[in-house]
Symmetry: C2
Subunit: 141 residues, 2 copies
């Protein structure tokens, strides 16, 4: 029997490149690619792949976003709490990049950042929020 994972990968691919409205059509497209199966299998595959049907067509879910923060690991030097803010020390010139990445990380309670050249002040709306910021940052150090 063919590997189910190969078939599922083919399904993802097909759904990305074409608007497909029914499992019947998908079945036919898969056939062209050499995967011969049946509609019930597709029904199950689509559930496993967590594919959604929206506005009449199947949609593969967005790839889970890689937080840009992870890529900035090398720019971060250290971290220090000040009241319920957090101060970050970065490589020279890297502060605004780090600040921007932090803001896009969607940390709950993060109000804003002020970036100098190598220092970022992270303002949060509570002590708990600043703890979340610190935890997030330490994950990267």
């Amino acid at each position: 029997m063919a590997d189910p994972d190969l078939r599922r990968e083919a399904i993802r691919e097909l759904l990305r490149e074409e608007e497909i409205a029914s499992q019947e059509v998908l079945l036919e497209r898969l056939g062209r690619k050499g995967f011969h199966t049946s509609q019930p299998v597709l029904s199950r595959d689509l559930r496993v792949l967590n594919v959604a049907k929206q506005a009449g067509f199947y949609r593969v879910s967005e790839e889970e976003r890689v937080t840009p923060l992870a890529a900035l690991k090398s720019l971060l030097r250290s971290e220090q709490p000040v009241s319920h803010f957090v101060l970050l020390y970065c490589e020279p010139g890297a502060a605004s990049a780090v600040a921007r990445a932090l803001e896009s990380d969607g940390i709950d309670g993060l109000v804003g950042t002020i970036a100098g050249d190598d220092t970022v002040l992270v303002a949060s709306d509570s002590h708990a929020a600043s703890m979340r910021v610190r935890r997030r940052v330490r994950e990267l150090l």
Copy 2:
């Protein structure tokens, strides 16, 4: 006849607060809220609302992102093309905020921005891209 929009709002609400697996169930829940209708109407409503069915349950799509740019309307003064770049004039001190917002707006072909105190230079990779930037900016002026 009851306003369809009210019913649709009720649907969104229901889907947010409960895992609902079929239109039949949704029909019943709506009934409890005082909206009496039929399955075909739900089918059409769910399409209008762009609701997805995923892993057996209905999911309201993420709230459409409000571009931060819209909030910066008051900070923008004027706009002017220079070659295939665009120069933006802003309120004093607002340039970097505007630049950041523009970058997060996901304009196709936008390469980067340089922000001074009240001026932003927006670099794009083609004339067409700079036109997109200008159109976007003028929407706000």
